[in-house]
Symmetry: C2
């Protein structure tokens, strides 16, 4: 097996200190590979980078309409959020709309990702609940979907175990992933994600195809195409909800609007749709490094999205960024190496 190429390098002074290898694919909605690097045919776990695909049944099933979900709520259904107060409130509001509360969430609790939020909570004497879990919006979406799928059955009884692969909620989610990626999930490695739902190994080529399809509607049945369009519009309208203060996804979508939908996943995965360009993107750092996958996504946005000069400068600052030490001194750079 050939090693994937070095995509990102961290410099200290003028010397390369660390390097990050990986692979990426830029694909159109016909599945043609427009550009790529490294092995894009090895199945990888996309983790949270496919939350938009996982949220498709929430919309297509009619659950989003039934519960009157707005842009904020649909955006957080696709999010890995910071656990900031607005995120927590919006996730809670989805559960309330479906007539349940956070006891229905099966994602587990963790302290918010954002340190300053953690400290604010600690200062206020509070501890985290499942609503602070970065996946709480996605899970609130699963719960809303489950409440509709329950029909006349007892909601709480029906929802129990909704994270399991064989539960009707996860079967709907799996169907959406299979249909958009064109990759058979029954025959591929399956793992358990951080929030306890299944994650299926899928090649970058197929993940990129799914986002080209989601961004264009091409190759999807009508309801699914409409659902993808609705979810992307929601994220474009409320980019804070998909990540939060200071986060790459939020900052990029705030600035570039409907030209870019991007979503990070754990272990160095990133997926994106560039709808105006008709392209889907998927990348994975071999080592799982978050810092590196952001650099690569920025470099691909620079290369494949139409930007004006100011926007190019904004995006380039992520693709070649200073490393600063505890005294605020510039000590090196983290940059696209290709």
């Amino acid at each position: 097996m050939t090693a994937n190429p070095t995509l990102v390098e961290a410099l200290r002074g003028s010397a390369v200190e660390s390097t990050h290898r990986g692979a990426w694919a830029v694909v159109d909605a016909d599945g043609d590979v427009v550009a790529s690097a490294g092995d894009i045919d090895r199945p990888i776990f996309p983790r949270s980078a496919v939350k938009l695909l996982q949220a498709l049944p929430l919309v297509e099933s009619g659950a989003a309409e039934r519960y009157g979900l707005n842009d904020e709520q649909l955006a957080i259904a696709c999010a890995s959020h910071n656990g900031e107060p607005r995120h927590v409130a919006v996730a809670a509001s989805m559960l309330a709309a479906a007539g349940v509360d956070d006891a229905a969430l099966e994602c587990g609790a963790h302290w918010p990702y954002r340190d300053v939020v953690q400290r604010e909570m600690a200062a206020a004497g509070r501890t985290p609940t499942a609503l602070h879990n970065n996946c709480s919006g996605k899970h609130a979406g699963f719960v809303c979907l489950g409440c509709v799928l329950a029909g006349d059955a007892d909601k709480r009884a029906f929802l129990s175990g909704y994270v399991k692969p064989e539960h009707p909620v996860m079967r709907e989610v799996g169907d959406a992933i299979e249909a958009t990626t064109g990759w058979r999930l029954a025959d591929t490695p399956r793992g358990t994600d951080g929030c306890s739902i299944p994650t299926y190994a899928i090649p970058l080529r197929h993940l990129a195809l799914a986002f080209a399809r989601a961004g264009s509607g091409i190759g999807l049945r009508e309801g699914r195409a409409r659902a993808a369009k609705r979810l992307m519009a929601a994220v474009t309208a409320e980019p804070f909800m998909v990540a939060g203060s200071g986060r790459f996804d939020t900052r990029i979508i705030e600035r570039l609007g409907e030209r870019v939908f991007c979503k990070v996943g754990a272990e160095g995965v990133f997926c994106a749709a560039f709808p105006k360009a008709g392209l889907g993107v998927a990348l994975k750092m071999d080592d799982g490094a978050s810092r590196a996958c952001e650099v690569v996504m920025a470099a691909l946005i620079e290369r494949f999205v139409r930007l004006d000069e100011a926007e190019r400068g904004f995006v380039h600052a992520f693709a070649d960024q200073p490393l600063v030490n505890w005294n605020g001194l510039d000590v090196g750079r983290l940059r696209w190496a290709a």
Copy 2:
């Protein structure tokens, strides 16, 4: 350039999700390579992994004796600590012994590494000072050394800029690194470390040699050999001070005592002395991953240090460890891949 081998793999379920490449060297005090993997001749920045070498002048100069530094204080001079209350108090006590305070520290301030300590401070309405910096003990040692080097000069004036390469304190530190590693610093890349002191690129082969020498005294002048022995004894006596609650270095040294001195550095570097085995060790993960460098160090301890069965189980649990999700479910493993 051939890629370094994969040393660590992260599994999700039974599939490999991420991999970490790197290089390691195990060397005796004559400089003979006992075992190695990857490129051990490329200079790498050792960062905090050489804090013991950087603390040698503190002892050899007589400063440690002049200020009556005890085991706790000498151990924290070699530390990247958690910023726990005991760490902060001991670093402060070193400055007090030298007749200065934390205004003398030039390492910068940051919130403690350990989340729970951060939250405790926030709950108490406190903010971090330079004493909470993980390097504060090392810097307190530099300040003590500087106070002795100052002689009759004004201490505060003399200390100003002690982090700069040309300052007498850093010249002493550089001399100790050059003498122990046998690597000329004038001709090698130099960067600025997180705490603003210089870090010099040195091959793993030479870093391992330095620790074989530090652990045995072989190849060092008498005062330096004594200083190395004194510092290792201090860390063995007070392993909490070198890192802190839950940390690899602290837990390993607590359990294995004088058989292992190990010290992590930023960007996936680890150095160690196995004094009873007469060996020095140095490793660097290409991608800078901390999680991976601990796995490799554990695997090398398992292989090169004499352990009883219970100790072997203890160490092996670091070399092949479960990955657990937010619900506490086992979702994979992080393990030595070689």
